[in-house]
Subunit: 448 residues, 2 copies
């Protein structure tokens, strides 16, 4: 594959950039036409790469792209999952270059979606193309590329149920995660689930002059802060009633295995420019993101947020709050528990609304499977060392659904790195990882 | 004055509306030209009303307008203070009509500044015009109208110091406050001071994916909520070290006198649509806004605040926090105490910045003065009952400065009502109050 990459590099950039230039932000209504454009472009790329058929399929939300090449129904089938939608770009002012005009700087592509997940799904299309054109293909390959991962995949589960036969495969191959570091390859063997809610706290029915009412009428921002503050105790435990009921404690043995993953605390703190880490008492940093649930405020707003000073006692305050869950915690149950808890702790002097956004369950992947072994061999060959099994802190809620609906295990070969700052300004993807990923994927097919 | 109002009503509306149409928002850079326009228009109105001279004076910030009519230097001089700047209009979507296109609905003028303070200062110009034209003027009258009250009057104190002779007077007459209710006239005999700061809490040096880092890295929004929550204890006391050191406790007698002001808790709660009030333990609602300091978050923002969900662990979180102070508390001292306290309680895993905005001291007005007696008599005549001395919860920080610099006591005859919702959407001013104010002001001159 190495030579093939060298020969076709410039075309690869052109093709990937054509995807990155489409602002396919799934959460924003205004980008609806861009979703269709991006899906259409993927169909072209799949057909050019050698798919027998590829098409855009409408759903209740953004369309899915399905394409395949069946060389022999009796051979094993790989179902590649990816998503072509991206996160919003704000705060836009922190981007060093246009998020939708990709730029190569210091050996990396900078653009929204450079890694997550356009860059990573592109590796699969190119590894597939290489095998088709150079004659190495000995599997049936199917692609399912959705446009709603960043908003919780509301439509794909239903589509998968309705198209179960079409999606029949032996493994779901996914590149939408990270490796531990540039020099420490890893394979994800579990991901966290997610529960995401928006809360609204209303005090007085109108914005008030803070001089006339301050001190006598509850300020919904102060109350929201009190309520949020009470959600996590001093030991880092989430106080939502029943929150930990379904959390499975890992055995000492399993914890020891996971702790094999190298981790440099000083490097970690330096990368983030923080003096101290913070998390649940009794767990290491990797455990806190890998095997333990957590709660984060993802956004908060209320009152006057413009320049200068305004002496307002606002009527409402809002927050977006998400919880990362571990396997065995049920997303819908947790959302319900949170909602009940948040309403229960609301003082008499405010009114509270809780609106669920998307969510999904976590999952675990058996590391003894032939697919895992093939991935391990492929990555060992590319990186020169054996990859570490790791537990990802993020969530790809749809994978738990697909695993259940299609009865196929996913395999997560991710090539992202921390430095890529996905979901943040200046998202990037190292060219080195882009190409290493293509090689490793091609080798995976060889050993699977 | 009643007949004069009846005769000239339509012209009064035209003139006042011409002021209200100018979006003189002092806190927003983009409105700088509007400040000048508004000042120019005030000069015209003062000259038309009968001032001998009136002009716009530049300052380091927005200009001040000064005008006067000296009929005999040996007669007593009234210095009218007012401000032509207004608060921002957001949330703009809650306005029922354009904030800068005044509209009369249900007997009230709706516009930003309808009351605060364009409507109220306009009463003084018209009462002055009436006395000039109908021959009743027996005082020298001076007007000082500033354009920076809503941002803490950063320039007027210096201007007053430099123009002390020009501003020489016997009383500073101000209409920039409220009465207790439509049927309960009151005269403000004290106002709270203000300390206003902006805080910024920084966690990691970039926005992070909340799945990859959530649970292991301190989220600055959660930390900001914790810090804000800790600023007020369960009894409603502010926890900033040294905050209450200079607060003077009122005697039981003084508290009894203030409690004469009628107050209907059910009406109050209904007006605000709240189930419960909230404030410092041991004090009534009127005491909480009149004689006790308080702390409010006026604005908060951080992370993703757009539609839908974004799983970000943000780098920074911000809040605007103000404290209302009581006489004898020094604004600069409190700002310093707050800043020290806020930095002291910041945990190791975040960095904190505190930026002071404007502030000012509270003040008290002697109710035994001839000016107070004249105002009392004037209001009794207009409203049919004797006005109650009250303590305003708001702040006009510049008045404490002018009192000190010019050595003249202010007198606060305010005609606003709670229902006017100044600083909020749909600010209004009842025509009844606009005209009653003109009458009362004209009578004040008669009895002073």
């Amino acid at each position: 594959m190495k030579n093939y990459i060298e020969t076709h590099k410039e075309r690869f950039f052109d093709e990937l950039f054509s995807l990155l230039r489409i602002p396919s932000v799934s959460s924003l209504e205004q980008h609806k036409p861009d979703m269709q454009r991006c899906a259409d472009r993927l169909v072209e790329l799949l057909l050019e790469a050698g798919a027998d058929e590829a098409a855009v399929y409408p759903t209740a939300g953004h369309p899915v792209v399905f394409g395949q090449k069946i060389i022999d129904p009796s051979l094993p089938t790989v179902l590649v999952y990816g998503h072509y939608d991206v996160q919003p770009v704000d705060p836009i002012e922190l981007w060093q270059s246009d998020p939708f005009e990709p730029e190569i700087r210091d050996g990396a592509i900078y653009a929204r979606g450079a890694n997550d997940d356009k860059g990573q799904l592109f590796m699969h299309i190119k590894a597939f193309e290489f095998m088709v054109r150079e004659g190495g293909l000995k599997h049936n390959v199917k692609f399912i590329l959705e446009g709603e991962e960043e908003i919780g995949s509301p439509s794909l589960a239903a589509w998968a149920k309705a198209n179960k036969e079409l999606l029949k495969a032996d493994i779901i191959l996914v590149s939408d995660t990270t490796m531990i570091s540039e020099s420490v390859p890893s394979i994800n063997c579990g991901m966290r689930g997610l529960s995401y809610v928006e809360v609204k706290v209303t005090g007085p029915n109108k914005d008030l002059h803070s001089g006339h009412y301050g001190g006598a009428v509850a300020n919904p921002i102060n109350v929201l802060c009190d309520m949020i503050s009470s959600l996590i105790d001093k030991d880092g435990h989430i106080t939502v009633k029943g929150f930990y009921d379904d959390v499975v404690e890992l055995s000492a043995e399993d914890r020891a295995k996971l702790s094999r993953a190298p981790f440099d605390m000083e490097e970690y703190k330096e990368f983030l420019d923080i003096n101290e880490v913070k998390g649940e008492k009794g767990y290491t940093t990797l455990e806190r993101t890998g095997i333990r649930p957590c709660l984060d405020v993802n956004g908060i707003w209320g009152g006057y947020t413009g320049e200068g000073a305004k002496t307002v006692l606002p009527s409402v305050a809002h927050a977006k709050i998400s919880m990362r869950l571990v396997p065995n915690q049920d997303s819908a149950t947790i959302t319900k528990l949170f909602s009940e808890h948040f309403k229960a702790i609301a003082p008499d002097y405010v009114k509270v609304e809780v609106t669920p956004h998307h969510g999904g369950d976590g999952f675990l992947i058996p590391i003894s499977s032939p697919a895992y072994k093939a991935a391990e061999k492929a990555m060992t060959e590319v990186y020169g060392i054996e990859p570490v099994p790791s537990r990802g802190g993020g969530s790809i809620p749809i994978l738990a659904d697909l695993q259940r609906i299609l009865e196929i295990d996913p395999l997560l070969m991710g090539f992202g790195l921390e430095r890529d700052t996905i979901h943040s300004p200046n998202e990037s993807y190292l060219l080195k990882q882009l190409f290493a990923g293509m090689e490793a994927i091609a080798l995976f097919y060889r050993y699977y």
